[in-house]
């Protein structure tokens, strides 16, 4: 077996997986603090990629300006969606909230299609194209930047949740809303903040993905479909679970794509994550990192 090939697949898997991890983290943050399951998480990723592309091509902004603009735009979008779409549903059954986010996904997607069309659009080159050698394996610089970016972002998020006042308030809200209210924490604001963070984090994933792929089209939305197996695998309300789940699914997908697809014909890559998911859920019904609820009377 070709060792370099294996390494190449592993690296590809980790890179894609790290972006899955970002999107899944957004999903988990929303679910943990508001209880909503957001099926439009993949669309946030698309919005991020397209807005950044638009700012760089149509407005001819340098990346250093386009990127913050993208973040600001998606942050606003997240807050707006919470305020206008989700807030009126407070207290509605989970299933209605899911349906609404599904509708939201459709809306965002058709909006993007309307503005940008369905053609693949070239993403401006952000990283030098010459690969660097990691040992014996050539790795594109975009991959390295992308993984570094995701790592920095997730670390920053972790620190934010652990040490900042707003992070503490978010965790308190996730733990018990009524009690959080009694502390003087504005739960509504925390909901808006979680949507904001989730949108921004996914959008960053979108920008990175656009940059490493070199072009974007509507198929970016497929990333969003992977969020479900990833978060179910990791446990719906565990951020570490989302990260491990994302990397895991990314790697499994690439390995099966590299080794099994040529043997069994295409498509195995798409199915295997779900098979793995079912197998793992049979052993651990609440996912790898499913919340160990404190049980005492």
């Amino acid at each position: 077996m070709d060792f370099t090939f294996l390494l190449q697949l592993l690296i590809n898997g980790l890179v894609v997986g790290s972006i899955y991890a970002l999107v899944a983290t957004g999903f988990v943050i929303i679910h943990k603090s508001t209880g909503a399951l957001n099926l439009a998480q993949g669309e946030f990723l698309m919005v991020g990629a397209y807005v950044c592309l638009y700012a760089m091509t149509t407005f001819r902004l340098p990346f250093a300006a386009a990127f913050p603009l993208t973040l600001a735009f998606t942050a606003l979008l997240g807050v707006l969606i919470e305020r206008v779409v989700l807030r009126p549903l407070l207290g509605s059954p989970v299933i209605s909230v899911i349906m609404v986010t599904l509708g939201l996904a459709g809306l965002l997607r058709s909006g993007l299609q309307f503005f940008f069309g369905t053609d693949t659009r070239a993403f401006p080159e952000l990283f030098p194209s010459a690969p660097v050698m990691l040992g014996v394996v050539p790795v594109s610089q975009g991959y390295i930047w992308s993984v570094a970016g995701v790592t920095v972002l997730l670390t920053a998020l972790g620190l934010f949740f652990r040490y900042s006042r707003a992070g503490l308030a978010l965790r308190a809200t996730a733990s018990n809303q009524q009690t959080a209210l009694s502390m003087g924490i504005s739960v509504k604001r925390m909901f808006a903040l979680s949507w904001c963070i989730a949108a921004v984090v996914s959008a960053i994933g979108g920008v990175l993905l656009g940059a490493i792929r070199g072009g974007i089209d509507m198929s970016l939305g497929h990333m969003g479909l992977k969020v479900l197996p990833v978060v179910i695998l990791g446990g719906l309300d565990s951020v570490p679970g989302a990260i491990v789940g994302g990397l895991f699914i990314g790697v499994v997908e690439n390995l099966t794509g590299g080794y099994l697809d040529p043997l069994l014909g295409g498509g195995v890559k798409e199915v295997v994550p779900y098979i793995v998911l079912v197998l793992i859920l049979m052993v651990r019904p609440s996912g790898l990192f499913g919340r160990k609820k404190v049980d005492r009377v």
Binding site: R165, L168, A169, A174, S175, T179, A180, L181, S182, M183
Partner: protein, 270 residues
């Protein structure tokens, strides 16, 4: 400091729970709110702290004044900022947060960092057991420790008015004594005004200055804690040991207190 005047509270637009309740809490005092299960004690506290709305309740009549200003319908975060803190029934700690993080949440609305640090030390001095377990996940504390944490969180808010809902719930008698001594200390040493809801009338009257007795959503009797305490009938009435009907019994009791204490007792329903 706090004055509720003829308030009515409705849950879900249909269930009338408070029916013209009037109570007053003077600054610097401990006032006890007694009454049977379902009398509306917790609802009263929630209407003061603004937590009613999130449970589908609403003050539909009357006024709630804090420092002379109307606060009925204010958002809880605003009321916390103004100095009202509600320690809810059933020691609701944030289970997944550590003890110290729970305490930090109590001080969420405060901006004076040095004051908060000092208060953290004070809470640990009040409750040494919390200091030992400061890094531990709060969900794994014992019931009594969780109650201490809930009260400690209230202290971290440095409120001017603390609403305490059944701090003795599910706690061993010895610890109950300890917690009530602490409540007394908080009132004495920090000058915190306290509105205390308690099932254990005896112990509540032991530390309170004044008490109200609630029945069916209104205050049916109030007076200085000592005079209520020294009256066996109050306890009998309150604990429901009597075999008379409620209203009649309470009228008899009022007469009895009047006889022994001379007109100090006010009648909530006149």
């Amino acid at each position: 400091m706090l004055k509720l005047d003829g308030i009515e509270v409705v849950y879900g637009g249909a269930v009338l729970v408070l029916r013209g309740l009037s109570i007053e809490v003077p600054e610097g005092r401990i006032v006890a709110l007694l009454g049977a299960n379902g009398a509306g004690k917790s609802t009263t506290l929630k209407s003061v702290s603004g937590l009613l709305a999130s449970e589908g309740g609403k003050v539909t009549r009357g006024s709630i004044r804090f420092d002379g200003k109307e606060i009925a319908g204010c958002a809880p975060e605003e009321l916390v900022s103004r100095g009202i803190f509600h320690v809810m029934e059933g020691r609701r700690v944030f289970e997944d947060l550590s003890v110290e993080e729970n305490l930090a949440c109590g001080g969420y609305r405060r901006t004076d960092r040095s004051g908060m640090r000092a208060d953290l030390e004070m809470v640990y001095d009040f409750f040494p057991r919390l200091r030992e377990r400061r890094r531990q996940q709060a969900g794994y504390l014992s019931g009594g420790e969780q109650q201490m944490l809930a009260i400690g969180r209230g202290l971290m808010a440095a409120p001017r008015l603390m609403l305490l809902d059944e701090p003795s719930l599910g706690i061993a008698p010895l610890l109950v004594q300890e917690i009530f001594r602490l409540i007394e200390r908080i009132n004495r040493e920090r000058g915190t005004t306290i509105l205390l809801v308690e099932q254990n009338a005896n112990i509540a009257l032991g530390i309170a200055h004044h008490a109200f007795l609630m029945e069916g959503g209104r205050a049916v009797l109030d007076g200085p804690a000592e005079s209520l305490r020294s009256s066996d009938e109050v306890r009998q009435f309150y604990l429901g040991f009597s075999d008379h009907g409620g209203k009649k019994n309470y009228r008899e009791m009022k007469a009895e207190i009047r006889r022994t204490h001379g007109g100090e007792v006010n009648d909530g329903i006149a």
